[in-house]
Amino acid sequence: MTIEIDVTIKLKHGVTDPEGENTKKTLNLLGFRDVRSVKTAKTFRIEIEQEKGDEEKVMQEVEEMCRKLLANPVIHNYDIKMVK
């Protein structure tokens, strides 16, 4: 059985997000004047092959993936969500 997991990487509070800032500015220029802030995030959808009932182990594995590659602890927070 495969399960799908979404890992979302966001910038920590206090880290500037130039891409978001620029997008916000452009949206304002295009007439969307109510836009107050734009923040960017990156989502990885990961499919994992697993035996039934082993979800906890999979979650731990994904945590490790975040620590080892997907997120940079100095600037990033991450969210892990099971899709199905």
């Binding site: 920590k12 880290v15 590659l69 100095v74 600037i75």
Partner: protein, 287 residues
């Protein structure tokens, strides 16, 4: 004199390996461009290389693995996973490691730079190189001031306070430290003599954008580890190896340099001294 062997690491997406190897060759060393697979033995027998046979390791600039996930993250994870022990041994023997641009990002991702451990586990990342404040790819000459008092093996031939001109080319080069640790880390870097290069304006003042192309904290352009044998910097010294690589060369006053007792026109640019100092430091140390 012993011929020094230089290993220039290549994987998909690195650039300027050839310039770097030609720079070292010009100075009399033997440089080889080596693919990561050759070092981990995933190739035919005759193509395998051993990292310990080399005297200097250079991780060049570029966009390794397409800069996916984060700049340098994939190469750092690959090196850590497959070559971690060899690299650790290589560094422990005091041999120099140079990371240029993307190579600097890789060294930071690997936790080798800045490399001090006040309160965290070794090998943990302490700083980051993140997206430029301008949110753009900044590709132009920058001025950097040499700040190191003599710890760094790559800059012993450069006078402290001298300003070098080197091109930068990056989108993710902002040296970043978490806010609550910023003061402590900067102080630590200063006390340890680990800050090697800082962005300046032509008068030598620590100026903001555009002189600081990415918004780096404390205008940091390059740092070394506490032992001084690992240097990482964002600008490209190999692209400033010869004076005529400077876009203003035809209008510049020519420098002079003494060679074998004879004074001649200096054909080298600001980047040459970094390569020369590394080679001299090794020979002096007798590694």
């Amino acid at each position: 004199m012993k011929t020094l062997k230089i290993c220039i690491l290549r994987i998909e997406g690195t650039n300027c390996e050839l310039e770097t190897s030609l720079a070292f060759k010009r100075l009399g060393a033997s440089a080889e461009i080596v693919h990561l697979k050759q070092l981990i033995g995933a190739v035919k027998e005759q193509e395998r290389r051993n990292l310990m046979d080399y005297d200097v390791l250079v991780i060049p600039g570029g966009f390794s693995s397409g800069d996916y996930v984060r700049a340098g993250a994939i190469l750092a994870a690959r090196i850590k996973g497959t070559l971690g022990e060899e690299i650790a041994d290589f560094i422990d023997t005091g041999k120099p490691v140079l990371g240029i641009c993307n190579g600097f990002q890789v060294l930071v991702e690997m936790g080798l730079l800045p490399g001090f451990v006040p309160d965290e586990k070794p090998g943990m990342q302490q700083v980051a190189l993140t997206t430029n404040d301008s949110a753009r790819f900044e590709c132009r000459p920058t001025l950097i001031k040499h700040e190191c008092k003599g710890k760094c093996m790559f800059t012993r031939g450069i006078e402290k306070g001298s300003i070098l001109k080197m091109p930068c080319a990056h989108a993710e080069g902002k040296f970043f430290i978490a806010e609550r640790k910023r003061e402590e880390y900067i102080q630590w870097l200063e006390e340890n003599d680990q800050i090697v290069f800082r962005y300046v304006d032509p008068e030598g003042n620590y100026a903001p954008y555009p002189w600081n192309p990415n918004g780096s904290i404390y205008n940091i352009a390059g740092i070394c580890n506490p032992e001084g044998n690992i240097l990482g910097l964002m600008p490209h010294p190999e692209r400033a190896f010869y004076a005529f690589l400077d876009s203003e060369w035809s209008r510049m006053a020519r420098g002079r340099r003494k060679e074998k007792g004879e004074e001649k026109e200096d054909i080298y640019g600001g980047g040459e001294k970094i390569f020369e100092s590394a080679l001299k430091s090794i020979l002096k140390k007798g590694l």
